[in-house]
Symmetry: C2
């Protein structure tokens, strides 16, 4: 498909991004000031709802329904109340529908900040320094969400309006289950392509691991330390269980040559022990220990298949524990997700690549990312070409998370041009 935008239109759109870029940063900062960690996304969603309303989008805001979600094979296991946890979707319906419809999807939830004193400044008080915007969730992914809004603004500032339906989805639960995006799919939203502006280093995601979350519990018989050699130390046992899981991780990494797009990665499969808790008293041999496992799996492996292998290794670890009555159990606590591959050659990818090259002056690279993204839901369950593409960001999930502003500016330009090309435009002024 050839470009439909005129050069003057293209230039006007790009100028529109530049002209509003300070406002765009300010709006991103406003979003970051809302600490939208899991279950506390409402006030940030209020901001998104208002922003979409102001742009003339029709608002659909609803609370996630655990019962409905649980019927879907791709749902993440729910261990919080969804009371008050809402998705916001703004829909633009063109007067004339001549272009191709689009879902612009991003998540509003962010991960916890960790020990506050490790941040140079407050994670909830975003600031700009040396060309970087700092704050929790700046890149993952409030800059992308805000960028989508300002991309649309730039099209309109150029005197244009898009000519296809656009669903702007601000979802919850991307950092824990994927159930926000899944709820939007279950609600019936679909389109001819999806764009998710996650922080991807100005690149396109070609393939992506699946992720499983589990809480592993080790329990046994406590004693006084004076009899420690006869007692069962659940913390020592948990370490042994982790070591057994590391063997499975190594086995899966060794198989990377058999998985398309993962052959060249050093260590595509990461098992992260993200939290650990155990014991009640320094001078009691600990009776229990539990830890949170985040395991990655290759596309083509179902969550059930991966789970079965993890269970097998937990059984091996349990059998090797020195005390007979020790038990190792596992509970699904969130992500239970397959990975996916974005097949090459789609019109959507081609269109994005063209716009990227015009903005950046270099071809759009794609890469394989070993972290969870909601795109798997659109690819696996809606069969949609789903473009995950976004700005350069450092310290995602870390301290002093920061997004590179010049990268964000260019990505916003690419997004604006992509939306205009994909959806088509008509001159309004």
């Amino acid at each position: 498909m050839n470009s439909m935008l005129k050069n003057t239109q293209r230039a006007a759109i790009v100028d529109g991004v530049d002209e509003a870029f300070d406002q765009q940063i300010a709006f991103t900062q406003e979003l970051i000031r809302h600490p939208s960690v899991r279950t506390r996304e409402a006030s940030a969603q209020d901001v998104m709802e208002r922003a979409l309303k102001e742009r003339g989008f029709t608002i659909d805001r609803w609370q996630l329904d655990p019962a409905e979600l649980s019927e879907h094979v791709g749902h993440g296991r729910i261990n919080v109340s969804y009371e008050g946890m809402t998705n916001v979707v703004g829909t633009f319906q063109p007067a004339q529908h001549t272009g191709r419809s689009l879902i612009l999807n991003g998540h509003i939830d962010v991960v916890p900040v960790g020990p506050r004193e490790q941040w140079s400044r407050s994670p909830w008080d975003p600031h700009v320094e040396d060309g970087w915007l700092y704050g929790r969730g700046c890149g993952d992914m409030k800059a992308g969400l805000a960028g989508g809004l300002f991309a649309i603004d730039a099209i309109r500032a150029a005197g244009l309006e898009i000519t296809a339906p656009l669903h702007f989805q601000s979802v919850v639960e991307e950092e824990s289950t994927g159930n926000g995006t899944l709820a939007a799919i279950q609600r019936g939203y679909t389109a001819e392509a999806v764009l998710i502006p996650e922080p991807e280093e100005n690149m396109l995601v070609r393939a992506n691991v699946g992720v499983i979350w589990a809480k592993i519990r080790v329990g046994g018989k406590p004693t006084h330390p004076r009899e420690m050699t006869s007692g069962f130390n659940a913390i020592d046992a948990a370490v042994a269980v982790v070591n057994q899981l590391r063997l499975l991780e190594a086995e899966w990494n060794a198989e990377r040559g058999r998985h398309r797009h993962f052959e060249d990665l050093d260590h595509p499969i990461n098992f992260n022990i993200g939290q650990i808790r155990g014991g009640d008293w320094p001078s009691s041999v600990p009776a229990w220990c539990e830890f949170d496992l985040r395991a990655a799996l290759y596309p083509g492996t179902t969550a059930d298949e991966a789970w079965e292998q993890i269970m097998r290794h937990l059984k091996i670890a349990e059998a090797a524990l020195p005390v007979g009555d020790a038990r190792v159990t596992a509970e699904k606590t969130g992500f239970y997700a397959e990975g996916y591959v974005l097949e090459e050659g789609s019109d959507a990818e081609h269109t994005l690549g063209e716009q990227h090259e015009k903005v950046f002056g270099s071809p759009l690279d794609s890469f394989t990312t070993p972290g969870y993204i909601d795109s798997r839901l659109f690819v696996l369950y809606s069969g949609l070409p789903t473009l995950v593409y976004g700005p350069r960001t450092e310290e995602i999930h870390g301290y002093d998370e920061r997004t590179h502003l010049e990268s964000l500016r260019k990505v916003t330009k690419t997004m604006a041009l992509f939306i205009a090309e994909w959806c088509g435009v008509t001159q309004t002024s």
Copy 2:
């Protein structure tokens, strides 16, 4: 010294224990019903105060003073408020002081129960089954505390009264710092011998390790698991720190041949990791992890000397961590205690041995125990012969803690005879 008790007096005292033994069990159960875990000892101390008052003891009850305690070299580090945390000492002053004075010391505090579902019945609802009394703190050490009271009752039931001052100390903080007994020493209490009826399998403690508590913190730089190989995993790092500490533990155990009374123990030095906490989110590489270390040390090693070696090993572990900005720090959180040896040949030990042999029909054995006891304070800082001796108990600090009732009956008889012999008696009826 020859026995001063007549055979008829001895027989009457022993009968007195038997006759009141059901009441003794009932009173021990009452004590167990008060869940006197750290900072919540007050209601159990009320029971002890009332019991001592009823027996005509003069009551001294006072709140522990952190400032005064902290001036003593043997104090444990305080990380709770001592508001409302009291010692109870009942003092008996004889009309005629002709015998030898005695401190009868026991602790009212108990350790937490751990996961409740692991107990066959409630740890706070003591019951008797197959000759055992079950409940948290039954052996450690409410059976001993109650036994002291009923030993005195048995002497009086025999128509006798003791002829030397007796200080009956019900103290707090034995499970965390030793500051309860230390406060009693600082308050000026002393005597010619000390008896502590801890659960010691009908034996006398000959030697005892010191104990140090520390909280070890590991902190570093978190990242998203997709970049895990560049991030610092504080939980993995904590495991490496524990492994380094295990080297020190092994080194100290290998030296046991150089420590009198420890030569024949398999593993006298236990390092217990009693609690662990780390991380904030399953899909963030954990930025922090902290764990509680309980380390044992030989008598003759000061807490400062042991601490210095622990710090040296933490430095080694820190230097070996893969990320330059990782930090390993340690804080003293409780016990900071030397061990001790009870030198053989004291009159007190001889007297106890004679009574034990009369009751049990076999000589009093002594042994070395690798767990903390408050006796170290009397031995090291008051220079008193201190007899730690008490009933058979299983699952100390574990689930279904239980004390053997026939052992308790005999130990109570031994205690009653010991008190009568040591303090002397006069016929009152």
